[in-house]
Structures are given as structure tokens and as C-alpha cells.
Symmetry: C2
């Protein structure tokens, strides 16, 4: 599945798979962890089905608009297990205009998979696919590993909180 | 489903839906009708599942290479009813490099739907989605209506032949 133009984030989260999935797929929950703090998600639009919209707005700590907000779309949704979305296509699979800032300055597809790791833990894997090495390098230099890693920690913490209230 | 940046081809084919589907999804059959003659399909690669490859080579009557051949991918496959593929994504949903000639000089998504029209006929609909008006106009000027219309006739004829041999 992964190739030389891919970036991979892999973590074992100390939270059960169903709650990690919930934190990923409930827009109100996603909003709380999907940006590496002090960045914040200002808006989320998600329609969890192939061809459905996935759009986020992100702002900096000083209210700085990161230029995010282009609508992408989901490609695969396997309940509790797998999510695939891309910024190369807008909703209903229409080719995207593809001009944004930051992570939206190049097209990418992201494949997220969850698997039981035993003892209420979850193997969390996110792979970002790029069209070429240049885009992959740009994304790496923008801090993919650190950003997605920090978000994974925030996701873990949020899912743990959901468990405490379940 | 359709918007202002779309091109639509709609025909009632005098052939049953299952055979139109067969002519569309069997590479050896697709090869016989998918290029408007005297153009010819020189090669077909198709893996009929979401994320699976869809790639064709096309040559002119004098052996002229049309520059086609970039790999796209399927997005939806509903047996006998619907096919969606895009050139904006390469196989496994990787964002496509997107540099080709002719129809491959811009990204597009195509949605093909088949429906029973009664009396052994089939409503055939192909919608090409573009990222903006410029691409849509380019595609229209390249002869979308005539080309896809001619191919639809070739498809009808081939499917009729399959019926005669069924």
C-alpha cells in the first residue's frame, strides 16, 4: 500500500477502537483534536460516505487563517476500520481546483486504518499519499510527523475521556 | 448530480443492460468500442474495484499515438448499474501527476449509469465532471458529444452482437 511518495504515522493508542473511530467520525469531536494545538479547527464539514464532503477550516492561536477550507471528499468508509479521503477530488468526485495553502497547496490522499491491539488499545495508522517526491518532501518539511503525531496524542486523550464517560 | 462544469451524453441503446455492462467491463470487449473509429484502443488495463486501475492507450488510424495511457482509477463499481472513475487519481487513490495529451490534459471524473428502458433496451448515461468551466469547454471543443456519441453507437452494436451470440 505504501510507496516512496508516502508519509506514514503509526501509533498504538491507549483507547479502544470504537471510541477512536467515534472521535474521528463525529465532527464535534474531530474538531477537538484534528489540529495540533495551539492551532484550532474552526469548522468541520463531513459527510461520511464515498463522494461525501470532507472540509476543515484551521486557524492559528492568534486567529490567523491558515488558508485551509477547500472541500475534499471521502473515498472509502469502512465502519470502525478504515477511512480514505482525498483533496484531489471535491465532493461528488469532481476534480478539485486544488489551490490552497499549507497542506492544501498540493493534492493528497489519506488512508486511516484502525485495528485492535488488545487490552483496549488501538493500532492507529495514517498514510498520506502524494503524487510525487517533491510534494512528499514538502509535506514532510511542513512537519507531517510532528503534526500528525501531536494530533494522534490529542485523539488518544479525547478517546480516553470518552471511555471514562461511557 | 450534474453541474455547470459537466458534459452529459445520454442515449437509449437497443441492447439489454447486462450485455451493455458486459461490453463496458470486459477489457477485450471495451477495446472494440471505446475509441471513436478510426481511432483505436491499443491497450486496456482495468481492475474493476474502488482504487483499481483504469488505463487505456489510444492510437490514430495512421498509428499516431494520442498520448493517452496515464493510469486513472475506479471509484465506484455497482454491478450492472454504475461505474465511476477518475483521472485525477492514479491507482490506490494516489493523486495523479496529471500530464497527458487530449482528454488526459485535464483531470476528469466520469459517471456511467445504466438503467432498463424496457423492451430489451438500456438507458445509457455518461457524465464527465470537470474542475472548472475552462476544462469543460476544452473537452466540449475536443468533441465530447460527437466522440462519446459515436462510441455509444459502437457500444450498442457490439452489445447487440453479444445478444445474437448469447
Amino acid at each position: 500500500m505504501t510507496g516512496k511518495h508516502d508519509l506514514v504515522l503509526e501509533r498504538t493508542l491507549n483507547a479502544p477502537r470504537d471510541l477512536v473511530w467515534k472521535a474521528w467520525t463525529d465532527p464535534a469531536l474531530l474538531k477537538q483534536w484534528f489540529a495540533p494545538k495551539p492551532y484550532e479547527i474552526s469548522e468541520v464539514e463531513m459527510d461520511l460516505k464515498p463522494g461525501g464532503v470532507f472540509r476543515i477550516g484551521m486557524v492559528g492561536p492568534d486567529g490567523f487563517d491558515t488558508g485551509h477550507g477547500n472541500p475534499g471528499c471521502f473515498l472509502e468508509v469502512v465502519d470502525g476500520e478504515k477511512l480514505v479521503w482525498t483533496s484531489a477530488l471535491a465532493p461528488q468526485y469532481r476534480p478539485a481546483e486544488g489551490v490552497g495553502e499549507g497542506c492544501e497547496s498540493f493534492p493528497m490522499t489519506v488512508i486511516v486504518t484502525l485495528a485492535d491491539a488488545g487490552n483496549g488499545k488501538t493500532n492507529y495508522r495514517a498514510v498520506a499519499l502524494h503524487k510525487n517526491e517533491a510534494d512528499s518532501n514538502t509535506h514532510a518539511e511542513m512537519g507531517f510527523e510532528g503534526g500528525w503525531g501531536k494530533c494522534a496524542e490529542q485523539l488518544e486523550e479525547l478517546a480516553q475521556g470518552l471511555a471514562a464517560h461511557a
